[in-house]
Amino acid sequence: MKQTTEIRGRGPWQLAYERLRRDRAAIGSAITILIAVLVALSAPLLAQITGHPPTMQFGHTGLGPTGIPVGPGAEFWLGTDGLGRDVLVRIAYGTRVSLLVGVVASGLAVLIGAVVGIAAGWFGGIVDTILSRLMDVVLSLPFLVLALALAALVGPGLGISIFLIAFFSWATVGRVVRAEAKSIREREYVQAARALGAGNAHIMFVEMLPMVGATVIVYATLLIPASIGFEATLSFLGLGVPPPTPSWGNMLADAMAYYKVAWWLLLFPGAALLGVTYAFNVLGDSVRDALDPKHDQTIKPGGQS
């Protein structure tokens, strides 16, 4: 082995990255996610190749003689739905919605959670009391009931879905970050910064943020699948992305009328949803292990090598 003497130090982030690179489950889920991203990006391309725009109804070729959907075949690779639309192209477009909602909503949730958590932990006192109560209230709200009410009030849409998911997710992050910030607050390096005359912004964003960064990243990866699931639920109930725009959730809802005769309507969007959320969950777990080696599993049950 050649010893490399690099001057640029390997910090906690690089070490975590290297651990991640050696984790086969992480690699597998990262590849799955990458494929999902590619599918989402190439959705218009797919529509062009097949010649089937996502919302176009193919009354003659796409529906059987009795008006039931046609199964997977040469013309429609993954079959058609009840209106004679191409399931493959619709899944590809649905991937765009799912990833967009997943990433944006959890990004927003993590951002708000981190800022609120750090502020509560650093300022303490009355600020902490108010912010903590706020988080308690949000966490105790019944998500589905309120989401249904709000979506019904404002009308379904992509923006409102993202807002709802972020609104109901940030407090979980906020609570964990607050606890961490509270302990970081007592560290000597924070006192050192104060002794140098550092203001609140320096302490919160330069000293505290990198320390809670690991938690934030883990939560971000774990919130993405949860958000995708939320979005699918909302769309399934007709409160997410409004038809005819395809999303995995409303495709599954449509499938409910036909699944006895057209299994592909349930299987393919369901598999896409399950596969992507599972991949994000596995990746999230791996990221957590990589950032916190104490959780490392060195002895695996079953004794496989």
Partner: protein
């Protein structure tokens, strides 16, 4: 050393509220960690502050740095009263007084690069341009004996002694006048301690620094200090020029502390007061009445239980030597 006073503490008191008891008996009580301290630091000197852990010396250090608000008394730095100064008012003074912390692991943010940590003083105080900073950081690293090429590393990649050098580099970055050293070597191996102490001494000479040097280790303090103050349960019990503290000890507590120090220069034949420092000091929640040392003092008498001894000159020939004791040892009693 001049008689120019850089830092003046008058009657400094710092209280904490602690919760005691459990269940229904749980209640809040206030604890005086620092119970009225008068102390002055002259420009260019090193004042050692010793005492057992929990005597309030680290709290006092944080009061000096105004990391804590002072509950009563005054903190005057170079003629300016900073007792109740706001953070905004304090900011320019923070260039002139800095602190070196005890824990070389806790005082450096593990997720930040060393160059950025040492660059903090410039960044926070808005000194110099971003472009100058790296050069200044590397200069500082050189000055404290670190390889300037390592500015991109993380604290975790340095040894304890090197980390303490990083903390020192950060403290001296803005060329302060006063540095509060809070047990700067007590977390280090003995072999490394001397190196760091020598570095501090060299920097003092080079930069004309004034040190408030806090330690529980009398042998370390003796090595570096011009004057020594001994603290017990939140109060100063004896203060004197370094050699007087060791050679003409007056306070029974100082004497007990000294006898607890393993003596390397074994001067046979000199009887020492037997160490009486068995057990922990009394809780500052319930400080003993009168002289706070009386439950552990071999010379204690009735008067000690009722009357608080004040810090005063015991011998007119020795005006620099102050003791807070009703029945101080006279020269020759101790050694």
């Amino acid at each position: 050393m001049s008689n120019d006073v850089l830092l003046q503490l008058t009657g400094v008191v710092k209280e904490f509220t602690v919760k005691v008891g459990s269940g229904f008996k749980r209640r809040k009580r206030s604890l005086q960690a620092v119970a009225g301290v008068d102390l002055s630091l002259r420009r260019g000197e090193t004042l050692g502050l010793v005492g057992e852990s929990g005597c309030g010396k680290s709290t006092l250090a944080r009061c000096v740095m105004r990391l804590f608000a002072v509950d009563s008394g005054r903190v005057v730095f170079d003629g300016d009263d900073l007792t109740h100064a706001s953070n905004a008012v304090l900011k320019p003074y923070r260039r002139r007084m800095q602190m070196v912390f005890q824990d070389p692991y806790g005082s450096l943010n593990p997720r930040r690069r060393v160059g950025s940590i040492i660059g903090d003083p410039f960044r926070i105080q808005g000194v110099g341009s971003a472009a100058d900073r790296q050069a200044k950081v590397q200069e500082l690293m050189q000055l404290v004996g670190l390889n300037p090429e390592h500015y991109n590393r993380f604290p975790g990649e340095f040894s304890g002694g090197q980390r303490q050098r990083i903390g020192i580099a950060r403290a001296i970055a803005l060329r302060p006048e006063l540095i509060v050293c809070d047990e700067p070597v007590s977390a280090l191996d003995v072999s490394i301690q001397a190196q760091v102490l020598n570095l501090l001494a060299d920097l003092q000479k080079e930069l004309g620094l004034t040190y408030l040097f806090i330690s529980h280790d009398l042998s370390v303090v003796r090595h570096v200090s011009d004057r020594v103050a001994v603290m017990y349960l939140g109060t100063i019990v004896e203060i004197a020029p370094s050699e007087a503290i060791y050679e003409r000890t007056r306070h029974p507590y100082t004497s007990a502390l000294l006898s607890a120090v393993p003596r390397f220069e074994a001067d046979a034949g000199t009887a020492r007061v037997e160490s009486v420092l068995s057990g922990d000091p009394p809780s500052p929640l319930d400080p003993p009445s009168g002289c706070r040392f009386h439950p552990r003092c071999p010379r204690a008498q009735d008067r000690c239980r009722h009357e608080v001894p004040v810090l005063r000159v015991g011998n007119a020939d020795d005006p620099e030597h102050l003791t807070a004791c009703h029945f101080p040892l006279v020269d020759g009693d101790a050694s």
